[in-house]
Each structure stands twice: as C-alpha cells, then as structure tokens.
Symmetry: C2
Subunit: 422 residues, 2 copies
C-alpha cells in the first residue's frame, strides 16, 4: 500500500465490511454476543503463547527504536496480562444487555403509544496508543453494545494487536457472528487515521484514547462525531465546614492512590479559615509519599516543603507525584478557580454544610461532581457501569465514564392501531 | 465590519458573552426562567407593531430581490404569527423543568452513592433560514434547558430577527437574567457562520435548521458538535398481514396530511400478495388529492395513474404531492429497501403480525420506528416533548425529535461520607 489512494480504498473496504457486520450485530441476540465474548476469552488464553510471540516482535522493535521504558511496559503482554484481558471479556459477557430495552412507553392524547428503545450506535472507530489490551477491552464492550469496531492501535503494537484480533475474530465466528464485527487496521500509515476520521458513511463515532496530541488531531480532522477525553485537571475543595478527618483522607487518597490516572487530584483548594489547621497535616502525608508540592503564597507560608506555584501550574495535569495547593477566600473563589483552570473532568467538595454541597453540585460543570468522596472514584467500574471505554469530558452524548450505555443510543418507537394524525 | 478579522473578533465577543451568560443560566431557578419566558411573550405582543414594521423592511427587500413567494410567505410576520410565537413561549414556560433532576442514585459496594444530574449543554448556536419565528421558538426552548443561544438567521430576515431579539432580551432582563443569554448575530457576512462553527471554546453544540446545502456546509466546517437533521425519506411498509382499513388510512394520512414536512411519507412499500387489493384504493385516494404517483413495474401494472419511477425516485425527499410506490417480495425486501434508500428518519410497518412488528422495531435503524401509525406523528408535540428544536437524524446524543432533554446532558454526581478508594 504505497499511495494515499490505496490507503483510502483499503480503509473504505474496512468501513463497508464494518457497516455490514454492524447490521447483523444490531439484530444479534444477547446469547450470541455473550457466547462470542466467552469464546474470545477462551481463545485468547489458548493462544497465549502465540500472543506472547507476536508481542515479542513488537517489544524487540520497540527496544531497537529506543522506546521509553514506560511505553515498553505498557506494550508488554505477559501471560498474566492475557488472563486479565480474557477475564475482562468474561466480565463484559456477565453484564446486562441494555440493547432493545424499551423505556418510557406512554400513551399520548392522540392514542399512540410512544417510547424509547436502546439501540447500538453502529460502527465505532477506536484510535489508541501502545497498550494492546485496549484491543480486547474496546472490542468486547462495543460488541456487547451491538456495535462493530474498527481498531487503530499504535504502530509499535501492530503485531500484538493483530494477534489479539485473530482470537477475537475466531470467537465471533464460533458464536455465528461476523468476524468483521471487529477489524484491526493493518497499515501503520498515518493517512489511515485521516481516512478513518473522514469516512462518515461507514463510521458513526470515533473514540480517541491517547494523549493530548492524538485528541487534538482527531478533533481537528474528524468529520465524524467523537467521544473524547481531554485532560483530567481534578480538584478537591476543602470548605470552611469540612470535617478534618474526611478532608485529610480524601486529599491524600485523591492524590496518592495512583498518580498516572486522569481522575487523580491535581490541585487542592483549601478555604482560608481552615488552611492553618488542615494544610500542614496533609502536606506531611504528601511529603511522606514523596509528592512534590507547589503552592500559592499562603500555602508556602504554612507548608515549608512547598515551592511557589506558577500560573501554569494551575492548568497542569501532572500525572505524576506533584500537586498544586491553593488557599482560597471562600466558596466562590474555589468555584471560580475550578471554572477557570479545571478541565470539567472530576471535582469534589469536602464539607458538612448541606447547602454548600447542594450548591457545588450545581455550580461545578464537570463530568463528575462529588461531595465528601475521593476523585479517584470517577471510573466505570466504581460507578457500576461494568466497564468503560474511556471518560468523556465532552458535553454531548456522554459525560464521564462511558460504558455500554454511552456506546449506544435511543430511538423512538411508536405503537398505534391504525392511528393517523389529524 | 469589513475584514474577516473583524468578523472573527465580533463573533468571539458574542461567544464570550454567551459563555458568561450560560454560567448564570445554569444556576437560574425554574421560576426565573419561566418568568423570563412569560415576559418575553408579553413583550412580543406589546411590540407587535414594531415587529411588523421591522418585518416590512425585510419583506420589501425580499420582494426587491425577487425572493420566491414561498420564501416570502415564510418570512412574513403577521399579528397572528406574533401571537402564536408568544403562545409558544408560554407553552415552554408551562413545561416541566428537567434541569437539576437527579436520577438513578444508587449505593455502590464501596459505599459511595452515584447518580446522574441533568444539566444544560452551555451555549447553543442555531443557524437557520427565513422563518423569523425560529428566533423566539429556539431561544425559548434553549432558555428553559438553561442554555445561552447565539442565533444566526437568514440575512433576508435580519431586521425581523433583531426586533424579536429586542423583546426576548427585554424579557430576560425583566426576570433578572442576563440579556446576553440570547444574542442574534447582527452581521450578514457569510464568514460569521464559519467563525461560529469553529469557536469550540464558546459554543457547545450547533443546531443547523435549514436545507441540505446548509447542513452540508455545517457538517463540513464545524469543529463543534452538531445536532443535525438531514432528509426525511420516510417509508410505510404494508405487510402481508396488514389490516386493509388501517393500511389505507395510514398510507393516505402519512402522505397527504401535509406535504412539506420531513415526517411525510415519500415511498410506500406494499407486500406483493396484498398489492392488487390495497394499491388501487390507495392510488384512488392519492389521485383524488392530486398526488403524483411514481411506481415500480408491478405498481404501474396495477395503478393506471402511476408513471414509472426512476432509481433516483427511491432516494428522493419530495416535500411535495408526489409519492413513489413499490411492490416488494416480502418483509426482507422491504427492510432492505428502507435500509438502502431511507434516511433513518421515520419508517412504519402496517401489520397485524406481532412477530413481524417486533422484528421491524429491531431491523429498522431509524430515529422513529412505528407500528400501525402514521409517520406524521414523528414530532416533538405529538411525542409529548412539549416542543422541539428539530428532528435529529444523527445517532449520537439525540435521535428523533429534540426537545428540552436533547438540549441538555447528564453529569455524574457522587455522594460520600469521607469515602476513599482502596
């Protein structure tokens, strides 16, 4: 495939086959979809050796290209990781199937009965980087929602992804479903992504899973709707009426339970009247955990370990053991800070004051808003969605963790008995 | 405003003010929003004379530019139409306010409580043609959903739209809400639309209301999510098990009750075993109503008034007293026809067979799927949404008639009691 035209043709071929497969999937029974998920899981485990061999090719090439150790770690497929992929597919099989569910079926004055039926989106394009387990996770969740997928992973994981796709497609066929319900883009040409982003006749939605530059490119080029995940600049605001114990526990957990996740706390806001009492013990815990602290002037006066924060710090998603700390003059300043510097991902208030808690729920326009809980809970599993394809920071279609429901839509259904409009 | 840069600056100014106003609106009480809607309605009626005068300027200019009579008709504001605009706003005021509604609040095994809260989208950009009543209708519905709007109507209606905006903004101020919650783009430069479609920092969603070329341009240029409405190539399929009376009533009503609406029947499909019995009486009713018929070979053999349909006819949204008629060899061929030629808007089956009715609901991937009812019911009022901003034929966010719910979204809310993740 050397010309741009060939790539376009190749991608349109994938698109056509995905569209056809999606029509079959939309009508597939829950039983068939779950059987496919189980068969995929079994096949992945049976083929573990072949998967590790394919992955070794990617790992070797990655080492030869001097990929960063963190990237190599994400790329690696171990027997344990393969089992965990299979387990993930079995968990998706165990989830309830929302497709076909009819809700809100009500009689109207005209006599017709109107309701909504949950339906698949159709074809989902997923563009991701490095981690090959996304191939199985994303394909499995999309399948359960009745969607066909076109998966475009990172070029460094191509052999791993192709090997995983073999098992997935074998699982689909074992259950009598079309193998083309899951297709992996087998060219590493950059143009292939461009074609995927533009072929609105074959793709209903694109889910980019990756860093800022990937999401920026997708946003710029897509002619297809996208469910996107931008930064997670998450805040915890410790209110004047906060409970001391809860405030410390949440501030520590939200920052230190894991550093590289998008729902990790990046900026802690503390109401001035509580700063002297609450900041030092939290700072001690951060220091003990090796978390670098960057603070406003008031913070630095109270916390000897803190260095001065710059304006840029408030916008930063560190994804690292670094936290920014700011003392605010009350609730309004906290909300204004979150509104200006936040990324509408996840923000929490710690307070015992019910009126302020209720107000925070309304005032903060983020995909998850929390009262007295750690931002780390913003996650499909924790929310009971079963699994997630990502966390949407967009405002259309789906906000927050996106599970099966976010990968589906609702159409109107109308039942009459010969009813006509007058 | 003569340079592209000036226009961009002007549009960004509108965007910034809309974004600020949206923050206030998101927190506005139902009482304040409803008071504003009532005040807008009263103001429109009080200023009817000024509105008619402004509209006369547009009408005179339209006549001087030789606008088609149908366009002039849509452009005209009469006292009756002004009353009807005001009435529409009062009806929106009477609708329930879904904003702030918390649903599905459930305890999770971790002890946190997770639910969803309905929230506004933020800033809605509406691009429309001709009919100035859209200014009031769209602004009213968006306001109820807590959104700020930027309205860009057709250049031929500019004075009318500006005059309506004066009343709307007066109504907002009377209720203590920011006037900038509703802004009309006051330049007729085409570049203004381009700027609106690109300013993702200020606009959360664009709703194009207009013909194919407008929607095509918006789809091509937008860097902002869109809720779009493409063609309404609607079908009624008369199944082998159809009731004769219901079939005739629905086929006639769906086509002849109104010709220019998107939910009007364009292609009637009849199962072969019923064609001889059912097509002639329907054709007689169409002929009596002056509806031109274009049929497949079998149809033409049964219906003397029919002329042969071309392949292009099956794709056509006539929006006129024309219908295409096709005899199909059973259910599968009907579904295949709808899938190939339809526009995923509204399609109906007429049948007494419950299994086929259930199957049709699943097989047909349209925003509204009906059993034994006229496609003309696909409408926000008929569905009980209260009002609609349009009918979405997209698959993301909202399908079918889009009312207040489609102009809002849901965020996750989490309540804990100091809960942290382990």
């Amino acid at each position: 495939m050397d010309t741009a035209l060939d790539i376009e043709k190749y991608m349109h071929g994938l698109g056509r086959r995905a569209r056809d497969a999606a029509k079959t999937l939309a009508r597939a029974s829950t039983k068939a979809k779950d059987a496919a998920l189980q068969a995929m899981a079994a096949h992945l485990e049976e083929e573990a050796e072949a998967l590790v061999a394919a992955n070794t090719r990617d790992m070797d090439a990655g080492r030869a290209r001097d990929l960063a150790p963190a990237l190599l770690d994400r790329l690696e497929l171990t027997p344990a990781r393969i089992r965990s992929m299979a387990e993930g597919l079995r968990q998706v099989a165990a989830l309830a199937d929302p497709i076909g569910e009819i809700t809100d079926l009500r009689y109207r004055p005209s006599g017709i009965q109107v309701g909504k039926m949950r339906v698949p989106l159709g074809v989902v394009g997923i563009i991701y980087e490095s981690r090959p387990n996304v191939t199985a996770d994303a394909a499995g969740l999309c399948l359960k929602a009745g969607n066909a997928t076109i998966l475009r992973g990172g070029s460094e994981a191509l052999h791993s992804n192709q090997a995983i796709a073999v098992s997935i497609r074998a699982g689909l066929q074992a259950a009598g479903l079309p193998a083309d319900a899951v297709q992996v883009v087998e060219t590493t040409e950059r143009n292939a992504v461009g074609a995927l982003l533009r072929m609105a006749e074959y793709v209903d939605v694109i889910v980019p899973r990756g860093g800022k530059s990937l999401v920026a490119r997708v946003t710029q080029e897509a002619r297809v709707p996208i469910i996107k995940h931008l930064d997670g600049v998450c805040h915890v605001y410790i209110d004047a009426a906060a409970d001391h114990e809860k405030a410390v526990a949440i501030a520590v957990n939200a920052k230190t339970q894991r550093y590289g996740t998008c729902n990790t706390l990046e900026t802690l806001l503390v109401e001035r009247s509580r700063a002297e009492e609450i900041l030092p013990p939290i700072a001690a815990r951060y220091a003990a955990a090796g978390v670098e602290m960057r603070g406003c002037e008031s913070t630095c006066a109270l916390v000897p370990q803190a260095v001065p924060a710059s304006e840029a710090d408030w916008y930063e998603e560190y994804l690292a053991p670094i936290v920014s700390l700011r003392v605010v003059d009350g609730y309004d300043e906290a909300v204004a800070h979150i509104s200006q510097y936040g990324s509408q991902h996840t923000d929490a208030i710690v307070t015992e004051n019910v009126s302020r808690a209720r107000q925070f729920m309304i005032d903060v326009d983020s995909s998850s808003v929390m009262v007295n809980a750690s931002t780390r809970f913003a996650d499909g599993f924790e929310y009971g969605l079963g699994a997630e394809i990502g966390i949407s920071t967009g405002k259309i279609h789906a906000r927050g963790p996106v599970g099966i429901e976010g990968l589906s839509s609702q159409k109107f259904v109308v039942f009459g008995d010969g009813h006509v409009r007058t």
